[in-house]
């Protein structure tokens, strides 16, 4: 038997040899698809159930959009003081969450613009970086309790919208910073020197050179700020003080009334689709036409 194994070999390898060659790749493929299945099956099921007549059975079918109507009209009806079949009211939490997410996104962009471009250039960046990114490793619940104690007992911040904003910022900032650092660490500081040499004043250098080149990082930071705030639950539990964010509201509703569960399915589907849409938009804004920026000189 020949050991020849090149493409020009006339002989087909015996079956067991081909199996052995293929085994690592095959295992990887099977494992990969399993993970994808475990990840996406519940989400797909949830979407299907949100269009199903009797979602609580767990079997999709009997297609309807009645739950979506309920999500919208239950709130509108109750707002007008009318009685409705369900007391599910998603309007206020949704507005609150969108507002929080927007404020967090803006705060992240500003903070990251201040810190991001400087951090890769300073001498002791290691400790700073660890310090900034530490919150990533602290579980949300512990962070929430900590912030709660800090705000309530030490600096006496009134719990409410602003405590939520602060908490969401603390939570989202490290991610936003990471996104910015990916871009900022590749930013060639010598371009700023060249601009200065050509006569650009500091604000011209910032707007005409630094900002356009850091644009992907800015978009990414805003996007992370928005999405992480919008989906945040553990910190919100401690910081809410009467304010229900959307995830918080859904969480409470899912534990409380069986009748609202189908509405949660519908709402979750809307949020998922919205998030995916936003993600694509952000990627397009950040990297669409970004090909012109990845010049290696």
């Amino acid at each position: 038997m020949t050991m020849e194994n090149t493409s020009q070999a006339r002989f087909r390898l015996p079956f067991w040899r081909r199996l052995m060659d293929w085994a690592p790749t095959g295992t990887g493929i099977i494992f990969g698809y399993s993970v994808l299945f475990i990840l996406y099956f519940p989400i797909v099921m949830l979407m299907l159930l949100s269009f199903s007549g009797d979602p609580l059975t767990g079997i999709p079918g009997d297609w309807t959009i009645t739950w979506y109507e309920d999500v919208i009209f239950a709130d509108i009806a109750q707002r007008d003081g009318e009685a409705y079949g369900s007391n599910f009211r998603v309007g206020d939490p949704l507005l609150l969450s969108i507002m929080l997410a927007c404020i967090t996104a803006v705060a992240c962009v500003i903070a990251v613009l201040i810190v991001g471009p400087i951090l890769p250039r300073i001498k002791w960046r290691g400790p700073f970086l660890v310090g900034f990114l530490m919150p990533l490793m602290i579980p949300g619940i512990i962070g929430g309790v900590g912030l709660f104690m800090w705000y309530r007992l030490v600096i006496d911040v009134k719990m409410g919208i602003w405590s939520l904003v602060l908490a969401h910022f603390v939570w989202a900032f490290p991610f936003a910073l990471l996104a910015m650092l990916v871009v900022a660490s590749r930013f060639d500081i010598r371009l700023m020197e060249a601009a200065k040499d050509l006569g650009a004043k500091p604000w011209q250098r910032f707007w005409q050179i630094e900002m356009p080149l850091l644009k992907p990082g800015i978009y990414a930071a805003g996007f992370f700020g928005f999405l992480l705030s919008f989906n945040e639950l553990p910190f919100s539990i401690f910081m809410r003080a009467g304010q229900d964010t959307l995830p918080l509201y859904l969480w409470i509703q899912s534990g409380a009334h069986n009748t609202t569960v189908p509405l949660i399915y519908a709402m979750s589907t809307i949020i998922t689709v919205g998030s995916i849409g936003l993600t694509f938009l952000a990627i397009k804004l950040a990297f669409g036409g970004g090909q012109k920026n990845d010049v290696r000189q």
Partner: protein
Amino acid sequence: MTLDSNTAPSTDHSEVLSIQHATHQFGSLVAVDDVSITARRGEFLTLLGESGSGKTTLLRLIAGLERPTRIGGISIEGRDVTLVPASRRNCTTVFQHYALFPHMSVGQNIEYGLRVRGVSISERRERAMEALNLVRLPDKYDRRVHQLSGGERQRISLARALVTRPAILLLDEPLGALDEKLRVEMQVELLDLHQKLGITFIYVTHSQEEALTMSDRIILMRRGKIVQEGPPTDLFDRPGNRFVADFMGVENLLAGTLEAVTGERASVRVGDYRMSGIWSGGEAPAAGTQVCLAVRAERVRLGKAGGGGPEDGVNRLPCKSGITIYKGKYIDRTLDTDVGPLTARIWDRDADLAEFASVWWRADDCAVTRMAGEGG
């Protein structure tokens, strides 16, 4: 008014740049050590030196990209710019790494210096086209930077620096990243531009060959200090000390003891031999000082056996043949002598290399110079 309105040769040889006692430190490292230089209008001045000699730092001090630790003063076109930021100095830099803005087109890159000065769009475009013509890339206005080759990028960078009509153009090893053939082409083009525009060029390089080809005047630097300055022929033929000779590519450097300096001529004892050459070390030191005899390989010739006694104006050494190195255009032959190995450059390929027993060179073809520079 066009870019090359002040067509050379300019009769105005006034001082366009003057730096007095500039010192620059990075932490404890002294990059530029109490250096003073001047440049005339329209001069091609080269700052030559190995890496770490402080030449680039000096250039950045002129540009204003580096703030000197201590300085007596710096003026451009007679105006004191010691405290003026880089953005308001009438000089621009061509960087070795091009530093083109990747998010702008070629045209936008070139126009940038005009844009920040508030020049109108139509005039910007006109002057950018003019600059593009100057660097012979007239049809690249709308290109993206990443579509250009290295040589084209360097030309765009040159056009970008020239478009604002600076009094001084600073070039920081602009050809360092280009391949050999392109480098030679660009040398010619730079010289051409220099002649056409009459702008003062201050050119930083580590290549003595580049410096010799292009400069009106060379300033050779080492460890933050000026070792020697003068026209290329001075540095090439009259090195002020052993370091200069070595840096300028003199292959044969012999250590000896100075016997006497009479007029131009110095006589030196090298081993058991008495030799003579042109004294190049400035003010002559006392007899008995250790000096260096420098002779280029192309000046060393091979003699037939015997050789005879010392003739007037000729230095002669008996030798044995060493290895031969083929260099294409010529052959470098290493020769073992009593005072160490010497290299002779042989251009004639048909020369009979077997029949020799001595080497010789004319005293006028070799320099006698100091072992070390003052303080160095």
